[in-house]
């Protein structure tokens, strides 16, 4: 009884906090910029969760996810501008298009091993970047970029950060629930099998190529939808946002937080965002500090934030259970815990 209450209490508090956040930030702290940051948090969380499906679960690296981010953003903006499709639908169409592109990329890429997959994705990212920055007939606005409008839901314009926050929150919740269910399904188990040992997975009857394509496609949808959210939140896009650096940023957020979980990508986004805000005043040193931190994280805590949390939690649990089971042999338990 107590346990079930404990189990439901956490999510309820989380949901209440997520719903009340814009009001707390805007009315409590008079910090409208904070609401905008919260919107950014949600869309990056979607993008990085998408990358997590591909890298964390299926074990396929991508250093070109900025390309899907760009396809989502530019696709939605261009569909709205040239074909007059309402923004809400243009976002979904653009993300669907990115899904097709992701599958088309994965089909030949699925036979490449680790290092060379990263080269292929970098090349793909660069091709898309070059295309949007020097498009034929300047349809993407090239280096000048493109201005666009916010989302309008059947005539109701999301003209404040608070309104946009709820829109992004709904998308994030839906996509994260889908992710969780997918991971627990047959598809998720197949992806994990491929990550652990693709030859063994093949032997067990998993169609490796098919599931790699699925992972790429789903991942592309998430990141592209996040890109579309970005475009209509900022209402201006230019190629600079979608360069190689952005792909590295996504990967950093994922590794910083920890892979193959729901909370990992979110904590990574939060940490990197907080870092970026702190470094805003020290712009010239930004890359340097960023590089040093990234290096430290890789060498010292390769499991990311959620890995550290897991380790600490496991250690505490171990101590507790050890102390309960063999009260007077505590010292011995301590020795084990240290190992």
């Amino acid at each position: 009884m107590k346990k079930t209450m404990k189990k439901t209490l956490g999510p309820v508090i989380g949901a209440a906090l997520a719903l009340a956040l814009p009001f707390i930030l805007r009315n409590g702290f008079d910090w409208n910029y904070g609401v905008q940051l919260a919107c950014f948090f949600l869309l990056y969380a979607i993008a990085v969760s998408g990358l997590d499906i591909l890298f964390g679960y299926a074990g396929q690296i991508s250093l070109g996810h900025a390309a899907f981010f760009a396809i989502g953003a530019y696709g939605s903006v261009m569909l709205h501008q040239y074909a007059n499709i309402p923004v809400f639908f243009s976002m979904i169409i653009a993300a669907a298009f990115a899904t097709v592109v992701g599958a088309a990329l994965a089909y030949p890429a699925s036979k490449l091993v680790f290092h060379f997959l990263s080269l292929a994705t970098i090349a793909f990212g660069e091709v898309v970047y070059q295309f949007v920055s020097q498009s034929p007939g300047s349809i993407t606005g090239n280096f000048t970029g493109m201005f666009t409008q916010t989302v309008s839901l059947f005539g109701y314009k999301l003209n404040s950060f608070t309104k946009y926050y709820y829109f992004a929150l709904a998308a994030a919740v839906i996509l994260l629930v889908i992710k969780r269910n997918m991971i627990k399904s047959r598809v998720g188990r197949a992806l994990i099998a491929i990550r652990e040992n693709s030859h063994a997975a093949e032997g067990m009857g998993v169609n490796v190529r098919k599931y790699k394509i699925i992972a790429f496609a789903v991942s592309a949808f998430y990141t592209a939808y996040a890109g579309a959210l970005y475009a209509h939140l900022v209402r201006y896009i230019s190629p600079d946002t979608f360069a190689y650096k952005q792909s590295v940023m996504f990967m950093t957020m994922l590794l910083f937080g920890g892979t193959a979980s729901i909370a990992g990508p979110m904590s990574g986004v939060l940490a990197v965002q907080a870092l970026n805000e702190c470094l805003r005043s020290a712009e010239t040193y930004q890359m340097l500090i960023y590089g040093i931190l990234l290096l430290t994280v890789i060498v010292v805590m390769p499991g990311g934030i959620s890995g550290v949390v897991r380790d600490v939690a496991a250690r505490i649990r171990y101590r507790k259970s050890g102390a309960a089971a063999a009260g007077d042999k505590k010292e011995e338990v301590d020795d084990h815990a240290d190992n």
Binding site: F55, I61, L63, P108, A109, L112, V113, F114, H115, F116, S118, L119, A120, I122, A123, F124, E126, V127, Q130, F131, Q134, Y244, V248, M251, T252, L255, T284, Y285, Q286, M287, L288, Y290, G291, I292, L294, L295, I298, V299, P302
Partner: protein, 290 residues
């Protein structure tokens, strides 16, 4: 006109080739990839500018100084970061990201130290131009092509016919067996990273006088170097240089005769095509198909 285009294509191509040579060397001796070659090139170019352009140390002495310093950086990175990660048995992505992190540090660090404006090298040779078929070319440009071809031959020989080269290849193929044969695997891999870094610095000293030195000089060259390495066959020394020269010429021809808008795209498009269609490259190197 055509000759001029070809020469300038060969100049940038030989730089791509030298960077690709470094990638191939690292891959052949440790099975890893380094994403910091481009920024080591920048560091080399800046150091060369400092020694030769500012402190007026004779060119060949500054060249040797620069190569030694960057050689040390390469060795230090392998010993201080990469080998630690490999020993921990982490996923290969972490070594890749570690080199990306170091490349950020190098790029931003050189901007902080040397400033973000473009630096011009003073001229290296007394004779500024060489005349070929009635057209004159910058002497440094000719040096660039000659030096890269020479290095290709040297390293091809070094990897395949010397005992150090053989021990490097052995330690990549099977570290444990190599150790059992008495090969110092740690030294071999460290040396390969150091030599690659030295080559990148050398390339930086070569390209500096032709293009000028600025902080993002190496970043793009570094990424295009991957394209040359894959075109030639990843891990193949001759392939690296041939792929680089080919890429440089194609790129320059394309921007001269068709449009300069797609100059950068072609390198990455070629990289994708080769990875998907012919991953073993022009020289049929089996490295990718492991």
């Amino acid at each position: 006109m055509l000759l001029q285009i070809l020469i300038s294509g060969l100049v940038i191509g030989s730089i791509y080739g030298l960077i690709a040579l470094g990638y191939s060397l690292i891959y052949r001796s440790s099975g890893l990839m380094s994403f910091m070659q481009g920024d080591l090139l920048t560091v080399g170019a800046f150091l060369g500018y400092t020694f030769y352009g500012v402190m007026h140390i004779p060119f060949f002495i500054s060249l040797i100084l620069v190569i030694v310093i960057v050689f040390m950086i390469g060795f230090g990175v392998e010993k201080g970061v990469i080998s630690i990660l490999v020993k921990k048995g982490v996923l290969p992505i972490y070594t890749i990201l570690a080199t990306i992190a170091i490349s950020y540090i190098l790029q931003n660090g050189s901007m902080l130290i040397f400033g973000s404006d473009m630096k011009g090298y003073p001229q290296i040779f007394k004779i500024p131009y060489i005349t070929i078929f009635g057209r004159s070319f910058q002497t440094e440009a000719i040096l660039c092509i000659g030096a890269s071809l020479l290095l290709m031959l040297v390293f091809s020989f070094f990897m395949n016919h010397t005992s150090i080269g053989t021990s490097m290849r052995a330690s990549a193929m099977d570290p444990m067996a190599a150790r059992a044969c008495g090969i110092d695997v740690g030294l071999a891999t460290g040396l390969s990273w150091a030599i690659s870094a030295g080559i990148a610095a050398f390339a930086g000293m070569l390209i500096g006088p032709v293009y000028g030195v600025y902080t993002t000089l190496g970043a793009v060259i570094g990424r295009k170097g991957f394209s040359s390495a894959v075109i030639g066959g990843f891990g193949n020394m001759t392939g690296a240089i041939v792929g680089g020269l080919l890429l440089g010429v194609i790129e320059t021809l394309l921007s001269a005769y068709i449009s300069s808008a797609y100059k950068d795209m072609i390198a990455y498009a070629l990289l994708l095509v080769f990875l998907f269609v012919k991953p073993t490259g022009l020289f049929n190197e089996r490295a990718i198909a492991d």
